[in-house]
Symmetry: C2
Subunit: 817 residues, 2 copies
């Protein structure tokens, strides 16, 4: 990555004018980043304090979660910084390269994108992996089982990293989205429409802000978004993997390590595939070159996953009662990759020029603004059908193969090629910027022609990238959802219960208000931009004659301030909604826990958010390309229509409506659904405690108080089991230890009434065999996995840690999950 | 109603020209109805045959369901016919009345609306009530308990009535919505925009179609929609009421009868309140008069519900384990009424002229078409927040008061004033038509002024009516949802299960595709209309000079054909989606029944449909009124803007986009969510049979084969229990009969393993006391309600019907629910 970055830096940056313009863009981008970081640093400090405090309150968390959160935030911010830094260097160098050839221009712009991709993916693997190793060593006592308490705490703390990353992603994506579209819409409304000057004209005061916006929204925002998805996916898979007790060569940790290994592998394959992205001459297809790189990276991941999975994972695994094999895990990875590929492909169909959806919008532009809008909206809604069916199929199949772990690992498989995806995504705005610089510097038409060629491809890759991003967000959210259920200690989210159903409605509404806020923020910020540009045209004489320079920095400032101000409320909704439901309804309903209600809320947000995201991204992309189609001319009712016709004007309206759809609101849905799920995961231990009993499945610590040794070498213990709000009466209990064989048999005849009231389960005698081992401090432990003979359906995992107590008897803790 | 109808007929119909125009409208409306009926009759016959066939296949249904379906369809069609008939008479008579005074004009138009309202509500009460009495007498053997089999069959057959009503509503609402907007948009695009003639100009060939559309969509469509809601609500409450075993003065039928009695009571109060709708002079507020009528009818229903509920319902009730009192039932009714009132009120805020939402759209019209659209979309999305919170609160509170019966009875309470609501709704299009006739007949400006006054109020009532309709549809859908769960024999819909979650996604997508189809249908039909109008202007010389008459009927035909063709696909989706999921996934997943997946689908459709409905109705209404505001002039950036300004043109774009939103797609969501729920309810017995075991709660018939009489007067029976796919092994069983005291005790020691596999429940000894009675043919029956001593949570209802068999022993059926 450093090599690629250095290579980009080494390229020629063009003449003085180009360097000056590029400097404005780079400065504008940095000034946004700095302003954003300033606000976020307040947020990060406050949130970290809250997290540290909350970490002290429950078992299985730790104040150090605050540190993980800060590291996640810093890493995410740094990933955005790297991308922006190289993008603002690569843009002008691409322009310069385009003076010589398309081959060279693609090389420079794609290398710029690659730096971004590798930087993000590398930081994710490095950050999450490094932190995991540290936490593992700190929290997991040597010899403790993977499914034990230490590992639970380690992973809960690791969730802080993901929360930090996703929080920054929220600000970067939503703020960046508002920034870029406020500048774009503002620049177009006054520049193109009122003053009649072309796009990217140097006389337009908002044009620098517009170009900054491409970097802020499309590079930094997209980077932070995928960084967040990448981290969250791996994390969710680790949470679920931690629950699997696995007999493998990694000390039982294979299910936890697998997603991280796949990510590392994907990173390597992405680097290899990036070398394949090259064209031979001016007439080569840029799209084809990118496709070859993309498909080959996916293919390599799939092929390599098979031996990897077979080698790492044991032949038989079980998660929450769902049995599956290592081959099933591979199939789930395959499903994830196929879903990702299909989603990109469908998105391309709905948003590409020359295909039926875009053409239908073009036709409907002929009867005016309104029919263009109606056409785009109808098309966007229709475009949800196939992606949703693909997603539903993906959920069902990955689950059928490997249960909830399958859903999570499918997401991980899909995300493995994130580096490549991001390289392709970031290449677009670099090319867009390069074109802007060419236009502003007054370079020859052939240069602009080459950058336009790259830009057109960039528009398509932007759309497919969004398809990939929403699919990855959806699968990630589901994996997090499953992880949340586990940690919250509930075993169902039953929408037949009225409070859960009510929350499903509320959750479904949240993407609507989020989207409404994002869209109106763009509207308001664009209006402010329009007024500023009008003012400059009026008050600074000579702008139009190129005699005076517009005050670019004023426009940059407007966009920066507006985006930071306007992202507060949507951000607060995403962060607070799960907290309000989780804590607000804690203990309110007798038969329904707040955790279950929160589950309903998450499901509502995810379903509605995915739909809104697909709808808005595709409608926006299609409107954009319908408008672009007029540049080459389109055939409507047997007549060719070009730029400037009434139909073209109608298509511009559609494009302007689509701008906040596809670049602000639509992509923000990814963040919304992931962030709410992560927040839920973080608060899960807090709301789980009380929800334990109504949910009937949980985690309890039981202390054994008295005991007694029988003559025949067995221990009989009269156990006084205490839980937080009830007692378990044990009629009779017996533990038979065969220490030398490291085996034990426990029999507890627990009073059914108390068993029901505390665990919410039926059962009398409680009897299991398990595998034991000796711990430090003279304590022993054994674990039993699988059904207990307790007259009860479902699986249990039991862990019993005991030692000799002061009375010479045995005392210890029995964990039932 | 007949009196009011006759009174409307008696009013003067105006001069020859007015009568001629009114005749065109009436003919056009009738020709649509006839074309619609023709298509629907095919559908009804085919669907009835399928229903009859399916009715033979499962217990608790009956082929006679086909007859109920046909009756429901005919009643619904007849309700639409009455409304349309009187509306097409009242329109011209309102115009004539407006020549004298506003007082008289309101009287005629509102009386016209009242006929519609009373007709619909009256037919619903009459049809459903009459059919219920017949079915009760046919299916329920004298003396059989209300919670028994006969009643179950009777109510399942009654669901056919509701299906028939809702199917017709689908065609009326969707078809009518397409009709009215195709004509409206088509007429406006050529007439106003291209030819420069005013709205409702007699020279415009599409103007008659436009006026027909008002009747077809807003009168007949709305009428059929609310007729469907009304019937479905009562039905769902009856289904749930049937499960309640109640000790009351109505033979245990009070919970079943209550919704019907409330409906009848609401009808009477609506008639009384209609008398309060009057104004004293030209300057009186029409809105206030309507509000007085509306609020007083609601208030009367609430007040009268208290003594009614206390009188009819017993003090303590229980449904599926949820205990509640008669006072709780009243509170639930209160909640429903409050929800309905609040929803109307919020809708009014978001769509009324002069309020903040509409004003913000006006302001955003100043910067062009695109910002107007963005503003409207953002506002529409934002407007979902409060209604959803109200709805969520309504669900939670009504459930908290009286469980699922509470949710259903809340909907019934809300729907009680349907007659009044419809009168207010139907008054709008009558006034609109009256204005059109005034314009076309060239009547003096003061006449048009009076009808415009009425029309403006009609626009607001149309919007609030839509708020009421969507809220009622949502509550109805939830009630149906609860009824479905009961009949399908599942006891949870767990979105934590992957296949259920996948269906939640698919369900959420269905309103998107439905809406997309409806909106593009309007676009296509409007284009066809545009071409026809252009053709007539070109080919028929003298139209513009009033010398030649346009071929109105051609335009009517286009709208009619297009609407009938285009409603097929959305209709098919609504009808088939539940069937495909219910049958397609039957038995596919081991741990997840297709019924549970169908439940996920319904939840997705309901949540997403309610959101889309509110969003589209409110955005459309706000755009409409933003445009209308320009007629009086609006202040934008300190400058007054009027009709014809650029800002006004932008607002017209918004209005045109909003037209299919608020009059086609938005209101169709009501039908979509209700219809899918009813279809699910109808197929529930078919998919329940197999889903029994995984669901763990069901309905089984167990045949006793051998028996033996013990010395001490007790019977010992070795029971060979057979269910469709498993055996129940009974270790020991004993029945102690004390015939003279009509009491019995049954003890069955059922093998726990077989108990689990067949019923999905844990349990050993099975022991209960019950109340018995003697049936015909020497058989006896006793029922036991409440928890069985079976080591199992939850309630059971058991029914045991037995008699002496050929061997002199006892044999019979044991029903466990």
């Amino acid at each position: 990555m450093a090599i690629k970055s250095a290579w980009v830096n080494k390229q020629a940056a063009g003449d003085a004018k180009m360097t000056e313009l590029a400097g404005y863009i780079a400065d504008g981008a940095m000034s946004f980043l700095k302003a954003e970081w300033k606000v976020m640093s307040y947020f990060v400090v406050i949130a970290a304090l809250l997290l540290a405090f909350s970490g002290t309150m429950v078992e299985h968390s730790h104040p150090v979660i605050a540190l993980a959160f800060i590291i996640g935030a810093v890493f995410s911010a740094f990933a955005g910084y790297i991308g922006m830094r190289v993008a603002t260097k690569a843009n002008v160098r691409t322009t310069e390269a385009a003076r010589t050839s398309l081959v060279q221009a693609l090389k420079v712009s794609f290398t710029g994108g690659s730096v971004m991709g590798l930087g993000v993916a590398g930081l994710a693997v490095l950050g999450l992996g490094g932190l995991f190793i540290v936490l593992f060593n700190v929290f997991v006592p040597a010899g403790e089982a993977i499914t034990g308490d230490g590992m639970k705490t380690a992973i809960e703390v690791l969730a802080g990293f993901s929360l930090g990353a996703e929080s920054i992603a929220l600000f970067a994506r939503v703020g960046g989205g508002i920034y870029t579209k406020a500048a774009d819409v503002g620049a177009d409304l006054v520049g193109k429409v009122e003053a009649g000057i072309p796009e990217d004209d140097i006389r337009n005061p908002a044009t620098i802000a517009d170009n900054v916006g491409d970097n802020v929204g499309d590079v930094a925002g997209m980077g932070a978004d995928l960084f967040g998805s990448y981290v969250a996916t791996i994390l969710a898979t680790m949470v679920l993997g931690q629950e699997i007790s696995s007999t493998d060569n990694f000390g039982g940790m294979a299910p936890i390590l697998l997603p991280m290994v796949i990510a590392g592998m994907g990173l390597i394959f992405s680097i290899i595939s990036m070398m394949l992205v090259r064209i031979s001459n001016e007439n080569s297809s840029v799209q084809k070159a990118l496709n070859i790189g993309n498909w080959s990276s996916m293919l390599m991941v799939v092929i390599a996953s098979l031996p990897l999975t077979m080698w790492m994972m044991p032949e038989s695994l079980s998660l929450r009662g769902y049995e599956f094999s290592n081959m099933d895990v591979f199939y789930a990875i395959l499903v994830g990759t196929v879903v990702g590929a299909l989603m990109s492909w469908v998105t391309e169909f709905y948003t590409s020029m020359g295909k039926k959806p875009v053409n239908s919008i073009i036709q409907q532009s002929s009867t005016g603004h309104a029919t263009n809008i109606i056409g785009g909206l109808a098309m966007g809604m229709q475009s949800t059908v196939i992606p949703i069916l693909i997603l539903a199929g993906g959920i069902i199949f990955s689950y059928a193969f490997a249960g909830l772990y399958g859903v999570a690992i499918a997401a991980a498989g899909m995300m493995a090629t994130t580096a490549m995806q991001l390289a392709i995504d970031a290449f677009g705005p670099i090319a867009d910027n390069a074109g802007g610089i060419a236009e502003m510097s007054g370079l020859p038409d052939e240069v602009r022609g080459r950058t336009d060629n790259l830009d057109a491809v960039g528009n398509t890759t932007a759309a497919t990238g969004k398809g990939f991003a929403i699919a990855s967000a959806a699968l990630t959210a589901l994996a997090l959802f499953a992880a949340f259920v586990g940690i919250a200690g509930i075993d169902s989210i039953d929408i037949y219960k009225a409070p859960v159903l009510a929350m499903l409605f509320v959750g479904g509404m949240i993407p609507y208000i989020f989207s409404s806020l994002a869209i109106s923020a763009v509207g308001r910020a664009a209006m402010a931009m329009v007024h500023e540009v009008r003012r400059q045209f009026k008050e600074i004489p000579g702008i139009m004659e190129y005699k005076a320079k517009p005050e670019y920095e004023k426009c940059v400032e407007i966009s920066t301030k507006a985006s930071i101000r306007e992202m507060m409320l949507p951000g607060a909704i995403a962060l607070l909604a799960p907290v309000l439901v989780g804590f607000g309804f804690k203990g309110v309903f007798e038969t329904t826990s707040s955790a279950e209600m929160l589950g309903g809320l998450l499901a509502g947000i995810t379903v509605s958010g995915v739909l809104m995201g697909i709808f808005q991204n595709n409608a926006g992309g299609a409107w954009d390309n319908a408008k672009k189609s007029f540049e080459q001319g389109v055939m409507i009712n047997g007549k060719m229509e070009y730029k400037g016709s009434d139909a073209h004007k109608a298509s511009v309206t559609g494009d302007t409506v689509g701008d906040p759809f596809k670049d602000t609101s639509g992509p923000s849905m990814n963040i919304l659904i992931k962030l709410t799920s992560i927040v839920a995961l973080i608060i899960a231990p807090h709301i789980a405690v009380d929800s334990n009993h109504s949910a009937g499945h949980g985690h309890e610590v039981i202390n054994m108080m008295e005991d007694q040794i029988l003559e025949d070498g067995r221990y009989e213990i009269n156990v006084h089991f205490e839980s937080q709000d009830g007692r378990i009466l044990v009629n009779h209990s017996m533990i038979e230890l065969v220490q030398e064989r490291r085996m034990a048999t426990v029999m507890l005849d627990i009073n059914p009434e108390s068993m029901r009231s505390v665990f919410g389960i039926e059962g009398g005698e409680f009897h299991f065999d398990g595998h034991g081992e000796t711990l430090d401090e003279g304590r022993s432990r054994f674990r039993a996995v699988g059904p207990l003979r307790m007259g009860e359906r479902g699986d249990f995992e039991c862990e019993f840690i005991f030692g000799t107590n002061a009375n010479g008897g045995i005392s210890g803790d029995l964990y039932v999950r």
